[in-house]
């Protein structure tokens, strides 16, 4: 099942992500980004593990920074995230264990240049968390 949906945007890609917990929201947003970027083509590829820590001034900032950090790491180190475990998340900090595979295991689809602050939002209604992210592509 898709954990994210596309929203209309003329030039770029906008998505809405939903989750029952904040940890899952951050995980789903990151996996959505990598799903837009690449499609797996080989089953068996070695996974590397990375530990990522992000700090920010607010929850939205934290989301932008988390995604931008992963994006820039992925571009610099030539990998795609396959699995993510968010170990902790608060309004100002996030710790995650990231499983990544080399890009040769993937068919690359879309180059995401960055995660923007335009219309970036995180909302909670009852037990449902919703995030909106616009990517520059």
């Amino acid at each position: 099942m898709k954990t994210y949906s596309f929203l209309e945007h003329t030039a770029d890609i906008a998505i809405r992500v939903k989750a029952r917990t904040l940890k899952t929201l951050f995980k789903n947003a990151a996996l959505a980004m990598f799903d837009i970027m690449a499609e797996k083509k080989t089953r068996h590829a070695r996974e590397k593990v990375l530990y990522v820590t992000v700090k920010a001034d607010s929850l939205e900032d934290l989301l932008a920074r988390w995604l931008n950090d992963l994006l820039s790491l992925s571009s610099a180190k030539s990998f795609i995230c396959s699995r993510i475990k968010i170990e902790s998340v608060s309004a100002q900090a996030l710790k995650a264990k990231v499983f990544a595979r080399g890009i040769s295991a993937y068919r690359l689809r879309t180059e995401i240049k960055a995660v923007t602050y335009h219309e970036l939002s995180i909302r909670r209604r009852g037990s449902l968390w919703t995030g909106k992210v616009v990517f520059d592509v």
């Binding site: 209309e8 003329t10 030039a11 001034d57 820039s72 571009s75 689809r109 879309t110 960055a114």
Partner: protein, 485 residues
């Protein structure tokens, strides 16, 4: 969009519409959109006009927040926007007003081939270009540089490539800023940006970036064509690329730091992507120094891409590029911020001109133009889509009203998601083939997302800038062979 309020645009004349300051409290100047009634209908469909109004909030902005006819909805700034801020009056610089692909731009080179002479070779040429020029998502090239060399690229831009033998002094003369803007400071660049930039020199990238073999199908300005040595039927090459991952990293880091500046300097903007700082502040100066590094990286990149193109032509036609007359007409940046002097209310002012999806268009006689363009004005290169046309224009004196700026392309009309839903890639390829256009792309998705119908008709866009007088048509090209990332 149904949830959007109707923006009351006031008609100034047939090609200009004003967004009054009363549209939104907080606008420091009005907005002015260059468009005709036909283009305006599309422009009103998304949030682009709202974004033009938002840019008018920037501290120090002078005259108006300007939008070119290829305007479309971006993030923060609209794409196709021009904003000038007065540095001495606390004017700001905004990394979002330049964009992630710093110095994304276009270069146009000519050949002495007639289309009729080489029409049977276009297929072979397109395949050879596709195989030799690294393109596609995250593309990496054969040009590997050491950390020391990368610093040199950031300082010297195109001249770094020329020193390697990948171009000539004449190429530099025909590049905006001679291919290197002064004031780049590699010491402000993060290790991550270096790392992202290292492997991507001499790569085209993906998305709307392309390399096209084109033919001139229409001349408009005989004097300018004579001066440039252009004629109908002549084969041309256009290259559209930018600063790749290096620029994205620089922009992202500075947008992030400038979000904090909003509070520090008490700046009120309606969208955080408009984060900015006074040009004269430590943050503003650091961004300018970093942005200039990325701009120089992009010029070096396009110089490398042109070198690779010349090499492919040499192989396919067994002739030197000089003999084929493969001279650079010009190279323009269309995502950049520049410090320029302009007249505002009768006084000379030092301004920071943001051109985001807009092209500098200096008039005849401008001191920064190379001698061969002093009489005709600065060449302006406007790429269209892969199925219709592209243009060469020149700058005019009338463009003083836009701080010597004009449009940069056709402008998107349809979202990528809508394109993927409604366009069949096989039908698209058949259609292009029937027009005699050969397309090679790394990904089929990119082809659909970049299909001609997702763009406005560049002919309509260029009509507006020509008729409004902010640049003048010289000639029109149509595509023959297209390489997409």
């Amino acid at each position: 969009m149904s949830e959007m309020r109707e923006c009351s645009l006031e008609k100034i004349d047939d090609y200009r519409f004003r967004i009054p300051r009363s549209y939104k409290p907080g606008m420091r100047v009005p907005g002015i959109v260059y468009a005709d009634e036909k283009l305006l209908k599309d422009i009103r469909r998304d949030k682009a006009v709202e974004q033009v109004a938002n840019v008018a909030f920037l501290p120090g902005i002078v005259n108006a927040s300007l939008a070119m006819p290829d305007i479309h909805w971006g993030y923060g700034f609209c794409i196709g926007g021009v904003a000038a801020t007065d540095i001495d009056a606390g004017g700001v610089i905004s990394p979002g007003g330049v964009g992630y692909d710093i110095n994304c731009g276009v270069r146009l080179l000519k050949t002495e081939f007639e289309y009729e002479e080489i029409k049977d070779k276009i297929q072979e040429l397109t395949l050879a270009l596709f195989s030799d020029i690294p393109s596609g998502v995250g593309s990496k090239g054969d040009i590997k540089v050491s950390a020391r060399e990368e610093k040199e690229i950031l300082l010297k831009g195109s001249a770094w490539a020329v020193a390697k033998g990948w171009g000539t002094e004449e190429d530099l003369a025909c590049t905006e800023e001679r291919g290197a803007i002064v004031g780049a400071d590699p010491s402000v660049i993060s290790d991550r940006a270096y790392e992202r930039g290292k492997a991507q020199s001499g790569t085209l990238g993906s998305g709307n970036h392309f390399l096209e073999v084109q033919v001139i199908d229409q001349l408009y300005n005989a004097a300018a064509c004579d001066a440039l040595g252009l004629r109908t039927g002549q084969v041309m090459v256009m290259i559209h690329s930018g600063s790749r991952g290096f620029g994205y990293q620089v922009c992202e880091e500075y947008v992030r730091s400038m979000v904090r500046c909003l509070e520090k300097y008490g700046i009120n903007v309606p969208d955080r992507q408009l984060a900015c700082a006074p040009v004269d502040s430590p943050e503003g100066k650091a961004y300018l120094a970093a942005m200039r590094c990325a701009a120089n990286y992009a010029w070096a990149n396009r110089q490398c891409l042109m070198h690779l193109t010349r090499c492919v032509f040499e192989r396919v036609f067994s002739m030197s590029w000089q003999k084929m007359g493969m001279e650079l007409i010009y190279d323009v940046a269309h995502n950049i911020a520049k410090i320029e002097t302009h007249i505002v209310d009768g006084k000379e002012k030092k301004l920071c001109i943001h051109r985001k999806g807009a092209t500098r268009a200096f008039p005849p006689g401008h001191p920064e133009l190379p001698s061969q363009y002093k009489e005709i004005g600065q060449p302006v290169i406007i790429p269209g889509d892969m199925g219709r046309n592209s243009y060469l224009l020149v700058g005019t004196h009338k463009a003083a009203e836009t701080f010597y700026s004009t449009c940069h392309g056709a402008g998107r009309l349809m979202s990528r998601t809508a394109a993927l839903r409604s366009i069949n890639v096989n039908v698209l390829l058949k259609d292009l083939e029937s027009k005699g256009i050969i397309v090679k792309a790394s990904g089929r998705g990119t082809l659909v997302e970049e299909a001609p119908q997702v763009y406005k008709d560049v002919n309509d866009v260029v009509d507006v800038v020509h008729n409004a007088g902010i640049s003048k048509r010289v000639c029109r090209m149509r595509p023959l062979g297209v390489i997409k990332g």
